[in-house]
Symmetry: C3
Subunit: 338 residues, 3 copies
């Protein structure tokens, strides 16, 4: 495997090997697996966890990183093909990616959805183009339609908590947010839970269905793994016997790229879609609350839930470190599991 | 000691040990005391010296760092409790601190005063809250009311220059600056000089007394150490026989958080409170000029003083490196002095 | 050599040694030549290649870096002497440079031309002042009038491609750009090709001659090396038998610092001075296209040329890494060639 753009770039055996290594690295974090290796980190968008965990993880493995933030102390990067670059961007990814690849053994890039055109963002073509431009191993640190390092860490978190793969009940719930956010995390979360073989319910208000290709792919994955995908707007039904509530906000596909048109749909949901303790009334008593972070407190979820015993959001973020380190060893280390 | 929020978090014996180690590290800067260790650096405000000296220092000790600047290539962080996060900040320190702590062996954070409410900023509660949220050793890189790494480095600088502890005459002088600045550096400087047992004089114009709690604490420290604290607006009296003039600007407590109200008090002082060579007329001939940097030339102090033989501001900054390295070894190394 | 502000700071023998080491490092990139060494990187302007290649290069040599971006997460730096600092800049390079120098074994600084006054920018005094302020080895990462690391890498690229030194035909062509850019890259490129002994032609529209001192210096260099310098606005003549077309945009010296006055001169050149395949009609069939990057696609050069076989811009950027590493070993390593 020389690119990791999606959790499905890992075969089942490779995924098992990465998760097993992540558990070992959690207990013995310092190794020399990446001695003499350089990992380049290119961010076209903001980052806290990914930035810090990648820097820490690589150096704990004996390697080194460099960091370039597009537009913050560096040139703004153009991503569109064939464009006449007479605007703000001074450099094109067609140069930047192969150039930076020369300075490292693996290049990892964050490039969010543009949020203008649904078909473009669903194609997730930009990150694939950048991977194609990169002659070295390439890792997505979140693209238009996938956040595979998050999915990998979340998979480990579910394992750590002994949430069953087959038969585990996983609720992915829309939550209110002031902005129309991208599909990367919900799409990767949905696919991850489906691949785990879980009984997945998407809980969302009317108008906020995930896009058809996202749902179709998750259903196909569930069919292979023995899991299932259900959609509802009924919170009590969704949460019945749930092991996990995973909250995330996303845009209404029918108004994609036109947030002002979506506002009338979104505004009345404020407060009603802020996760609170009563949401868990019909869930298992030990049901967990998950979120990828960052999270807006008392907007998407209350202080009571985040600060209470259900919340595993900090543990999820911790598993980003362990999972990414295992992934990097899988991609750059001597013994590679295929 | 698992947190360093103030110089007084070091006992007398620990302070002696840190200063002794700092002297050794000044002469032998490269060690492997922090081999395999990761230090996380989180900046909610700008930094030059602290950023560079922490990065350099940790790696010279064989360890590694990661850097997160809140709001510059990362999410803006919310610090207030219980707030509905529907504004600019996308992440709360209640998540960010424990998350980042998982990626490192020690977390160091800069978080300046808000400059709105005097009682809030004097409570210095935010940095303490962040330390409480951090399960790992925690270092303040300047908070609302303290800049302990600066105080530690300055203590060493005074030692290096053979400025007497008992009997040394230390003048902390207000200086003009276009903005109403925080109390962190003057409060830490005053407490440091008092702890050293020095005869400390605060020289300031009317209306610019340091806040009562800052003065009360310094007086209590001086009482224990055998030093003294005096306040005056008479420059000649203050500088009589002085070993050191330490310049810093700060806000007028009576107008805190209302800079436009303070302007009429501040404006007429411009030029009169810019340190210049004549200030030293009644001082010892070899009296030194100190400042924590950054400093606005010809606003707070003239080129003549800064470029002349009295100025030790560059040496002060150099001691930041040595002192912080010694502190980190004290907090993370195998042999710890209590 | 304790400062590298210009390619000519390397004697012929030192240049040969650096180029030879660069070739060795290209094939064996990981060494411990800089073990225990810290390289400080200070950017007063944006960077991608320089930032990434310096970070990667130092760590591949076993050393460590720290990075400070003036004004992005740090204080904005003042560079003018004698100024009353009551504006935006909070710190002066007179403090910043010696302070940062204490934290490292070598300080490397980027500081572009101000673009206001031609004589000031042609004096290139600021970078020299900063080098004078720095008691440690000092490297320019691009100044007002020189980009010596780029010239060093480009020298190696020409060698790699077997472009003849004596007799090689090198065309430095002006290209259209929306802004009036600095002379650093064209001046360093011209001097580099002249030093290589090449037959150099400057191709530029009327009004866009390079400044006299830049041309005079290049002519003197060519006289010593056996090369030549010609100037023309006739593309076909310039490109006759050319081995290399190196494109770059620069300001019209006659309107320097007044971009609005220059606009009437610049505007009609748009499109006509965007390098395209027909430019190469009279060149050697295997003529190469070079550019220092970043480059605005379809503004300065077409997609066809950049994506075609002539373009060696990515290789040029790769040689930045190898050349800079060799330079750092030359300046900091144990065996130094003079």
């Amino acid at each position: 495997m020389n690119r990791f753009l999606d959790l499905d770039d890992l075969s089942d055996s490779a995924l098992d090997a990465v998760l097993a290594r992540a558990r070992r690295l959690e207990h013995s974090p310092v190794t020399d697996d990446l001695r003499g290796r350089t990992v380049g980190l290119l961010f076209l968008n903001p980052s806290v966890r990914t930035l810090a965990s990648m820097q820490a993880g690589v150096t704990q493995l004996g390697g080194q990183t460099f960091v370039v933030h597009s537009g913050a102390g560096s040139w703004k990067l153009e991503t569109r093909d064939g464009v006449v670059m007479d605007g703000e961007a001074a450099e094109h990814v067609r140069e930047a990616i192969p150039v930076l690849a020369q300075y490292c053994d693996l290049l990892a890039v964050r490039c969010f959805a543009e949020g203008r055109d649904l078909a473009t963002d669903l194609s997730d073509r930009l990150i694939a183009t950048m991977a194609d431009l990169c002659p070295k191993p390439f890792v997505s640190l979140e693209s238009s339609l996938a956040h595979p390092c998050q999915a990998l860490g979340d998979y480990k978190t579910l394992d750590d908590l002994d949430i069953p793969r087959r038969g585990g009940r996983f609720v992915l719930s829309w939550a209110w947010h002031p902005k129309a956010l991208a599909f990367a995390v919900p799409a990767s979360t949905l696919a991850m839970a489906a691949r785990r073989g879980m009984e997945v319910t998407v809980l969302r208000p009317d108008g906020f269905d995930l896009p058809d290709p996202v749902m179709a792919r998750a259903r196909a994955t569930a069919a292979r793994s023995g899991g299932s995908i259900t959609v509802t707007s009924d919170r009590r039904v969704a949460m019945e016997g749930a092991h996990v509530l995973y909250a995330k906000s996303w845009a209404a596909p029918g108004h994609y790229g036109r947030p002002q048109d979506e506002a009338s749909l979104r505004a009345p949901l404020k407060g009603m879609w802020c996760v609170d303790e009563p949401w868990f009334a019909s869930a298992r008593p030990d049901a967990r609350f998950m979120h990828c972070l960052p999270v807006r407190r008392n907007v998407k979820v209350t202080d009571a839930v985040l600060d209470g015993p259900r919340s595993v959001v900090v543990r999820q973020a911790g598993n980003r470190l362990h999972a990414q380190k295992a992934l990097l060893v899988q991609m750059l280390g001597r013994e590679v599991v295929r």
